[in-house]
């Protein structure tokens, strides 16, 4: 397909923009139904304990309470996408502070909260696993004593507190290391952090007979539906998930969370039930915290700075349950290998149970921390080899035709061009004051290939609809689908209304996760629109007495190629179709398959060692460090990305800006701290500092557009997560230049920078 790219910046208006900007848009917490009740949860009072007494009578007998549920009131189902270690309500043992012990529905939120607090729970304390490294010791207390009896996905390799072990091995790393001219080892520790969407989640459920409709602020309605079906024992066609406008997600609203609890409450109470999280609950309860991580890396170089071998060990804090985190170990192993040519590699990663909130996919899971560790290590390697850090990367990164660390050979990719663009834009190499520096980091991220579906229809009046399973979480990716359909049909994006975020109306899509919406659903929409285009061409051919192959669709008209006077409007054709064969397309398309790996072996292989349509990036960040206080200011960011063809420039730039800001937060201010019992000490916006507009530096963006075969529509790759990958790493490398050595903890708070400046960081 050849498409002349229009000037998208001039034509793209988000269909959901006016609703959101004017405040007329409705979010899940805005909805109400006649007779609706309010829900509240009783959470675990201890972070690890065996329930010895659970008495809900004080709540049940409270006036205004219509339902109280515990594990005894729902099917005994243990669930989880990789390891089935979770139940809707705690059964016997609680394992983290946000674990749900009981749920209440009452006539007001205040009564529901009071009733939840009145439930009597007593515990026998169990030893708390609070240190992710100690948890791997052979004699460490177990977070799940019955771990071996849990079901798990086939590739998952488990052992006691290690919920998912993965390794990637290529060549003979030990032998190559022994022969290396330079060998350098580093250790880095990253704190956990949070997605922190502006909208805390809300769920509203209503039963009609044996069918339930659930309005939920989820990024993945089909996944949420699957969770409800599995835990409550319902077929998919009796559960309908509808997502109103979603107030941000960043991965935090991926996965199945509390939809089933609210549905079960509504069934028990025989009334609609609504749950709205507080900010504290949004911090503490979901299994979607960005994972804390310990990274140890050793790399061997030849004297000229060429990487010959790498070994690495990553320890990831899984928290108390395995959400979608089962793939983190292999993905983290890929990220500490990095987009480098490494002939001999052995990296391994452990996903380790603790009594912390469970981890789950937050924007580019594992990557910002692993990239931070790897790229800090890389600057140390460059220094050891006596090379400029950018020159070191130019010599060692993968490029078109290279073999990557896991044995994948890349088609045309733009990593070196990203390095060139970002460093040029930042003015890398220019003279700066002593307290300023420019740090550089490279990153990568796969595109995710998945099944996805859409319908496209044109009604009798010529107006069109895209009915899609895709979920819009604020990126604009769903909004961009109109552009693809319009181009396919020779219509304008404004001709299309979107019907989306409803599992009973649209075909399956994985949701706003894995940067996959445009990549996979875009393919489906193009496929579906293509069917309608064929129908239109046949109709036009009949009408204009020409061959279908000679019909051109453009500007809302069907014309005979080379004879512009012979034309009929698409609206008129739609009117004709309304009396006969309706204009309906349904698309899915064939997802691209995973590339081959040669010469490597993977333990715990969940498919993350081969990157489909890999995205590459380089960020160059200019910082200023106050040497007296350790306060770091980011003065400017230059970001260059190879995400293939950019279809929606405005949306794409927004993704890069947002990813960079999230990266600055992770670099400098965002980190969860735990008390001795594994409770979060800062689950509030006052104490967990996100970056604000006032903190935003100028952000320069370059897209290195290399259309990728076997990718999404028009050679597009994913984009939403990639910009979050290298920012923290680039900031770290700039800070290390000023400070004289790396800050080995993330976030690099002023205090940690100051401790590094004064040599009091406890690192020799």
């Amino acid at each position: 397909m050849t498409v002349t790219e229009p000037a998208p910046t001039s034509r793209f208006v988000r269909a959901d923009g006016p609703d959101k900007v004017t405040g007329s848009g409705r979010y899940a917490a805005d909805l109400t139904l006649t007779g609706v009740l309010q829900a509240a949860f009783r959470y675990a009072d201890v972070t690890h304990g065996r329930i010895t007494r659970l008495d809900v009578e004080p709540a049940r007998s409270m006036p205004g309470v219509l339902a109280v549920l515990t594990a005894a009131d729902v099917p005994d189902v243990r669930y989880g996408p990789f390891v089935a270690d979770r139940t809707l309500f705690a059964r016997d043992v609680v394992r983290f502070e946000g674990e749900i012990v009981a749920a209440v529905a009452a006539t007001s939120a205040e009564i529901a909260r009071r009733a939840a607090a009145a439930i009597v729970v007593e515990y026998e304390p169990l030893p708390i696993v609070n240190d992710v490294e100690a948890a791997l010791a052979p004699d460490a207390p177990l977070v799940h004593a019955d771990w071996a009896s849990y079901g798990a996905a086939d590739p998952i390799v488990r052992d006691r507190n290690d919920a998912s072990y993965a390794s990637i091995t290529k060549g003979d790393a030990d032998a190559a290391m022994a022969d290396a001219d330079i060998v350098l080892s580093s250790r880095y520790v990253a704190d956990a952090s949070h997605a922190a969407p502006i909208e805390p989640r809300a769920v509203l459920a209503q039963w009609e007979g044996d069918k339930v409709t659930i309005w939920s602020s989820t990024q993945v309605p089909f996944d949420a539906r699957a969770g409800v079906c599995e835990t409550l024992g319902l077929p998919a066609n009796r559960v309908r998930i509808i997502v109103p406008h979603l107030g941000g997600g960043f991965g935090g609203k991926c996965g199945f969370h509390v939809e089933a609890h609210v549905a079960a409450l509504a069934r028990a109470a025989r009334r609609p039930v609504r749950l709205v999280f507080t900010r504290r609950e949004e911090f503490v309860v979901p299994d979607r915290r960005r994972e804390g991580m310990v990274v140890e890396l050793t790399t061997g170089l030849r004297g000229d700075g060429t990487i010959v071998a790498r070994t690495g060990r990553v320890i990831i804090d899984n928290g108390a349950y395995t959400a979608d985190s089962g793939f983190f170990s292999q993905l983290a192993a890929m990220h500490v290998a990095g987009p480098y040519r490494i002939p001999h590699l052995h990296v391994e990663a452990h996903l380790v149970y603790t009594n912390h909130q469970p981890s789950g996919s937050v924007r580019a899971p594992t990557a910002p921390q692993a990239c931070w560790a790897l790229e800090s290590h890389t600057d140390e390697l460059a220094a050891a080899a006596g090379l400029d850090p950018v020159e070191f990367r130019r010599r060692n990164v993968v490029d078109t035709g290279s073999e990557g660390p896991s044995g994948q050979t890349y088609d045309e990719i733009g990593l070196r061009r990203c390095v060139d663009a970002a460093t040029a834009a930042a003015g890398y190499g220019r003279d700066l004051p002593d307290d300023e520096a420019i740090g550089v980091a490279v990153g990568w991220w796969p595109s995710f290939t998945a099944a996805s579906g859409a319908f496209v229809k044109i009604d009798g009046d010529g107006s069109a609809q895209i009915v899609t399973g895709a979920q819009e979480c604020g990126t604009g990716a769903v909004m961009t689908l109109r552009q693809l359909a319009a181009d396919e049909l020779g219509m304008s994006p404004d001709d299309f209304q979107l019907v989306y975020q409803d599992t009973s109306v649209a075909p399956y899509d994985m949701g706003a996760t894995g940067s996959q919406t445009l990549f996979n659903n875009g393919r489906a929409v193009v496929h579906a629109a293509g069917q309608v285009a064929e129908q239109l061409k046949r109709l036009a051919a009949d009408h204009l007495e020409a061959a279908p192959d000679d019909i051109v669709l453009a500007d809302g008209q069907a014309s005979v190629a080379g004879t512009p006077s012979r034309t009929v409007s698409i609206a008129e054709l739609a009117g004709i179709a309304a009396g006969g064969e309706l204009l309906i397309g349904h698309g899915s398309g064939a997802p691209p398959s995973a590339p081959a790996l040669v010469g490597s072996s993977c333990v715990g292989d969940v498919g993350m060692a081969a990157f489909v349509a890999p995205q590459f990036s380089c960020h160059a960040v200019h910082v200023k460090v106050d040497r007296d206080t350790g306060v770091v200011r980011v003065l400017g960011v230059s970001a260059a990305h190879d995400s293939g063809t950019i279809i929606n420039q405005i949306g794409a730039r927004g993704q890069v800006e947002g990813g960079v800001m999230m990266g600055i937060g992770q670099a400098l201010t965002e980190g969860t701290r735990y008390d001795d019992a594994g409770r979060q000490r800062n689950p509030a916006m006052l104490e967990y500092k996100l970056q604000t507009c006032a903190d935003a530096p100028p952000i320069h963006i370059d897209f290195v557009e290399i259309p990728t075969p076997d990718a999404g529509p028009r050679g597009a790759k994913g984009l939403a997560e990639a910009p979050n990958v290298p920012t923290a790493a680039a900031i770290a490398n700039a800070v290390a230049q000023v400070v004289g050595r790396p800050v080995r903890q993330l976030p690099m708070t002023a205090e940690r920078v100051w401790n590094t400046l004064t040599g009091e960081d406890g690192v020799s």
Partner: protein, 289 residues
Amino acid sequence: MSVTVAHTLDEALELLAATPSATVLAGGTDLMVELNMGHRRTDAVVCVNRVGELRSWRHDPGTDTLRIGAAITYAELMDAPLAGFSPALAQAARTVGSPQIRNAATIGGNVGTASPAGDGLPVLRALDAVVHLASTAGTRDVPFAEFATGPKRTVVQPGELITGVTIPVLNGFQGYSKVGVRNAMVIATASACLAVDTNGHTVRLALGSVGPVILRAPEAETIAVQAADFEAGTIDPEAIPAFAAAAAAAARPIDDHRSTAAYRRRAIEVLSRRLLTRAFPAPTPGASS
């Protein structure tokens, strides 16, 4: 819960006399958070931010003092004409919250909450402000130094209302600095206010977030006074480190979830040194900063 909006000072005081346990609401930037978080419960609220007497300020040229009504907002303190009377208070006001918060938050609320991290408070402590209290029984003035008795604890009695503060208008440098974890909308990890009275030959240094209440650093102040030439606006550079060390020694910081005592003490040393250096620019260009 009853919420009563007072329109005059007398009305507000009568309401408080009738319900001494009532909670006073001005900007609500502290109170609403506490209520929403369930940290505080109240049955009666008296709203005072429409009381004209509290919404006004007055400069007395005779004593050269400024009386600021308790319901004056940080947004008003940031800008002319009030900013001209106390540059440090204006600087502190600029660091408070977001524009929305500054439009609502009041100086009286900041004083009444008595948080050790309150941004306006080191300025009031450095300037030896006086806090004005009123009730139906009469009025009393309390030196700011004696006003707070601990973190979020004050001498205000049931039925009493903070009506304002009075500060001297000083001739000389004033500055407020704080260390926080990001550029804007951030609570102080440590803060300091330095005020120089060129006429009275005093240097005042007050410290925030490093003790149960706002602290002064008298030894540091003495060091500065002895080393300063108030007429020339210069200071013996060798006294600056001693001043900063004495300031750090005066701090009584703790370890908590926001920071450590060691870092806070270090921050006070840096902030104090920088403030004194700004107050007394080095006599010759290029001298140590």
